[in-house]
């Protein structure tokens, strides 16, 4: 019994970290833009494809398939996706910043569809799932006979590192300060000379890069990647961000852990729970939104009447 508990706890924290990273991206963008970037999940899940393509290209060019290519490919993918995020903002999302929320929403849902279809058409055999290697293999140690993999440790460690870096960035650097100011009140921030453009570019770069890392870890965890993983990743990440409270970084982490928790619980205790996990997750989302419409740690914005 304890083994089951330990095993599932490890799963929980691993998965929770991945979801938390996804949720952070959503919250960061929402906080600054007040726009829900529905296609963030899809943008994030382009990373595994880019990494695979890059790794193959490097291997072809340099002849040998060495792990170094994979590492380079992964780093390249993260950077690439970060830039893709910025480009998408400039081309499309920016135009909906001041539009009614509904429009931005539908537009980004459509954008997600476009991204998925582009992956499907541009990547060879895009409709099929593609194997994605575990980036780190091997067992690190055991707790009561349950193996804890290096992968799990990497995921958690990476998440903690990223969260810490993000915190330092947002609270200790001038650019981070500007992002937080714009997040509080965009109009006042603009009046104080904080350049809209730079803030949004930085936000999208950071959020998309973190999302890319989450996407790569997700593909690694699952062992495969598919063009429509972005839907699930997006829905789960968005739900985590919403449950925690859009715009709140700690909320994103809490939300990610909660969602992962439900998934793991459902899988363990409900027969054939795996196929029902989404149902449980979303039922929780609905319940949370009924009782705390702004999420658990979110701030309710009072409209001036």
């Amino acid at each position: 019994m304890t083994e089951l508990l330990v095993q599932q706890s490890v799963n929980w924290i691993t998965l929770g970290s991945i979801y938390a990273l996804l949720a952070i991206g959503f919250s960061l963008i929402f906080g600054v833009l007040n726009v829900i970037h529905f296609s963030h999940g899809d943008v994030a899940m382009t990373a595994p494809f880019i990494a695979l393509a890059a790794a193959q290209a490097l291997a072809t060019v340099f002849g040998a398939a060495a792990p170094i290519w994979l590492v380079l490919a992964v780093l390249g993918a993260v950077l690439c996706v970060g830039l893709i995020g910025v480009a998408l903002d400039k081309a499309i999302i920016r135009r909906f910043r001041d539009a009614p929320a509904m429009m931005a929403l539908v537009a980004t849902v459509a954008l997600g569809i476009v991204i998925r279809e582009l992956i499907r058409h541009l990547y060879p055999q895009g409709s099929n799932p593609h194997a994605f290697p575990r980036l780190v293999s091997g067992v690190a140690f055991e707790i009561t006979g349950v193996p804890v993999s290096w992968f799990a440790l990497t995921v958690v460690g990476l998440t903690v590192l990223l969260v810490a870096l993000l915190f330092v960035f947002l609270h200790k650097t001038p650019l981070g300060l500007r992002i937080r100011a714009a997040s509080e009140d965009r109009i006042v921030a603009r009046m104080m000379g904080i350049s809209d453009g730079r803030v949004f570019r930085a936000t999208f770069l950071v959020a998309s890069a973190i999302g890319a890392i989450a996407g790569l870890l997700f593909a690694s965890y699952a062992g495969v990647t598919r063009f429509d993983f972005g839907v699930m990743a997006g829905l789960l990440g968005f739900s985590a961000a919403v449950i925690g409270g859009l715009g709140s970084m700690p909320g994103a982490i809490v939300g990610g852990l909660i969602i992962a928790g439900i998934e793991v619980l459902a899988q363990t205790f409900v027969p054939e729970g795996a196929s029902y996990r989404l149902v449980f997750v979303f039922m929780l989302v609905i319940v949370v939104l009924i009782f705390r419409p702004a999420g658990l740690l979110g701030r309710t914005i009072m409209e001036k009447v």
Partner: protein
Amino acid sequence: MGGSASPAAPGATSAVATSILLQLGGAALLYAILKAEQGWQVLTLLGLLGFGFYLLERFPWLSDFATESLARVPVVTAATAAVIVLGFPFVVGSNTYILHLLIVAQLYAVLALALNFQLGSANIPNFATGASYGIGAYVSALLALNFGVSFWLTLPIAALAATLFGFIIGIPSMRTRDTYLALVTIAFGVVVHQLLNNFDWTGGPNGLVGIPAPSLFGHSFADPLNVFGWKLPSQANFYYLAAALVVLAIVTANRLHNSRIGLAWNALRADEIAAKAQGINVAWYKVLAFAVDAFLAAFAGTIYAFYVSYISPDNFTFLVSVTIMTMVIVGGMDNIFGVIVGAFLLTILPEKLRAFSDYRLLFFGIVIILFLMIRPQGLFPQRLRQYGGRK
């Protein structure tokens, strides 16, 4: 530049002529598109359509004249429309493929009209219309397959079931807004889809087969239709059924739009707080929008189930909801005519441009984004209520 210098109102004769010619012309164009085989033919007709639209934009008095003509002689307009709708299958003859397209287009028109109450009139995002559609289909199919209930009886029962579902989704809508609400509706849609997929009694991923064809006064809908010596394929039965539903949907939409309910929806779309300050119970009207949408969608779902006699959860996914949403956005938010045009366009065109069928979703996505960026009010923007007065 004050209000438009209104041109002379159309006289009775010119109104009659315009009304008849306009409707016949539209029907002819539709027929041409349906018959067109080659891609280039379709594109040419599309170009024609686009040109016509450009003219309407450039010379707004054209569309004013057209609408006023149609409104001036309501009896002639209605009669022409009836003749066209009733007579279309005779012109189409035994081309069952075209009939099939028309049936599907009509069903989607109903779905789009249903969504229009929420999206167009009240600006409430609803990504779960596909789920209501599916609930209608499944409830009626299950009743027919397991209990031998006749099609006509399953209609109201399925509609009530879906309306209940609509009320349930509506509950979170009372307290949440915009993006959060959208997420709730997406969540509901996914939950319904997953449940349909996983339960045994709904047939699981394989769905339900062998749904019996309805029958009316002893005439089974699976049999060809004999009218005045003409023999129409069995699809014609469903064509008329769907057409009847479209008429019902239009009447419902019209009555609601022109009533204090339609006004209340528009008010809460514009400004919730101000709407409350006029005494509008915003929460109730939001829930009502969900319920009405579900009600109509269920009707469409029931007809669909009995038409194709086989349904599976994959017919009612999130993407179906997105498709319906595209129809409303492209056709024209809160514009009954526009929404129907949107439905027809987005059902027929992807079928006709078959070469690009694999790119259909990509096309939809790009179209939505372009429309929202360039023409967010849709092809036919909402019209202000006239109350019998002149601008």
